[in-house]
């Protein structure tokens, strides 16, 4: 019979607090009914859904699937969601697409054992910083249409604030978390543009990174 011992305590690391969001990107397919979109599940280097191209730092800063590596921690303050329409878009159905995207969908944030901590219509999650300005289109011979729409004020301060009493939610090293967008009412195909749209979710807050 072997001796029973207690596990060795983990060493305490020195961490630096950085104003650094966690972000992840997914693909909303053009011409197809939407499927649930998950965020923070596929890290840097993993295959982007739909395109199967390896994710780079443009797509995510997660290095592990659905968790922070040891000894990193994160203080979560809120969420932002942005989408990008590529190319000059045929806007014939843009209003329907925006309705499908924001008003028929649910944004859910899971923490720990797939327990939802937030379930709200996506319309509640603002874009944050976004293109603003004017837009005019005079070329009537071609379908060169354009849209720069965003949800809520185009401001760095615009976020779904998830704090209670200004106290951020601590995400510890190796704790599971992810976000998901679903369409419980079952909507039709997105028809904007000529290409798939990139959609990105931000967890806004402070990252505690190793020195």
């Amino acid at each position: 019979m072997s001796n029973i011992t207690v596990s060795r305590p983990a060493g305490a690391a020195l961490l630096r607090k950085l104003t650094q969001p966690l972000f992840d990107t997914n693909i909303l397919q053009n011409g197809a009914a939407p499927v649930p979109l998950q965020f923070f599940q596929i890290p840097f280097g993993g295959a982007m859904p739909v395109t199967a191209v390896a994710k780079t730092l443009c797509d995510t800063n997660m290095t592990q699937a659905a968790q922070l590596g040891m000894p990193q921690m994160f203080d979560l303050e809120g969420f932002q969601f942005e989408y990008f329409i590529h190319a000059n878009a045929d806007l014939a159905n843009i209003a329907t697409d925006i309705f499908f995207l924001y008003e028929q969908s649910v944004f859910t944030f899971f923490f720990g054992q797939a327990r939802p901590w937030l379930e709200v219509p996506l319309s509640q999650i603002p874009t944050g910083t976004a293109l603003t300005g004017t837009n005019s289109d005079g070329d009537i011979t071609a379908n060169t249409e354009a849209t720069w729409l965003h949800n809520g004020h185009a401001s760095v301060k615009s976020l779904y604030r998830f704090t209670v009493g200004k106290k951020a939610i601590r995400v510890q090293s190796a704790e599971s978390f992810y976000a998901q967008i679903t369409w419980p009412n079952g909507v039709g195909a997105f028809t904007w543009g000529v290409a798939n749209s990139r959609v990105r979710t931000y967890m806004v807050g402070s990252l505690y990174a190793a020195l």
Binding site: D90, L91, A92, N93, I94, A95, T96, I98, F99, Y102, E103, Q104, S105, V106, W117, L118, E119, V120, P121, S123, Q124, I125, P126, A130, L131, T132, G133, T134, N135, S136, D137, G138, D139, I140, T141, A142, N143, T144, E145, A146, T147, W148, L149, H150, N151, G152, H153, A154, S158, L159, Y160, R161, F162, T163, V164, W183, P184, N185
Partner: protein, 207 residues
Amino acid sequence: MITKERIESRAALRQLKQPLFDTGHILTGAATIRVNFFQAPQGQPIVAAGALKTEADTNLTQAGQLGRPQEFDLYGFALELIIVGNVAETTDTDLGMIYDTGAFEFYFGQQRPWLQVPADQVPNGTGIEGAVACANDGAAVNYLWAHNGEGASDAMYNFTIGKKPIPVGSLENFSARLDWPGGAITITGAAAIRARCFMKGVLYAAL
């Protein structure tokens, strides 16, 4: 024999920044006198004989109350009016009519009104903004993304007094409604307008 009521065990609850929300329809081409909120939970029709509500429509699982042991701290209200699809040109008139002659009411407990204000006092909260340029569609395509008040995530009718929220206990009755007390309205846009009411605050959920 006289016995004492059993003392209920107390649950451990987690504070979540999670609004309560519910959706109703203002039907087009039909007279509408009232839209009720928080009365029909998930799985109930959104309008008579209509589609059943999902979590995209409401997060209430019981009619007019929170299930035990949930509790809620109410800070304020937001009211989204959602235009469905490419709009007919009449929709701007519809929106004006809804806000001009509408009243927002919140009821708590035994059908006691706790808030009665013109509908335009309750802001939309986060809403679509930006620019669209449309050159050569050949079709009668109209866009309307209007929202009441700033399209800001913290825009709401602040219902607190001295920054103190209103507590809503488990099984306490509450409801809200969008009313047209001066007479029913009939909107004429291409489709029903979805009206979504948010009770903004903190949900105390079971672990």
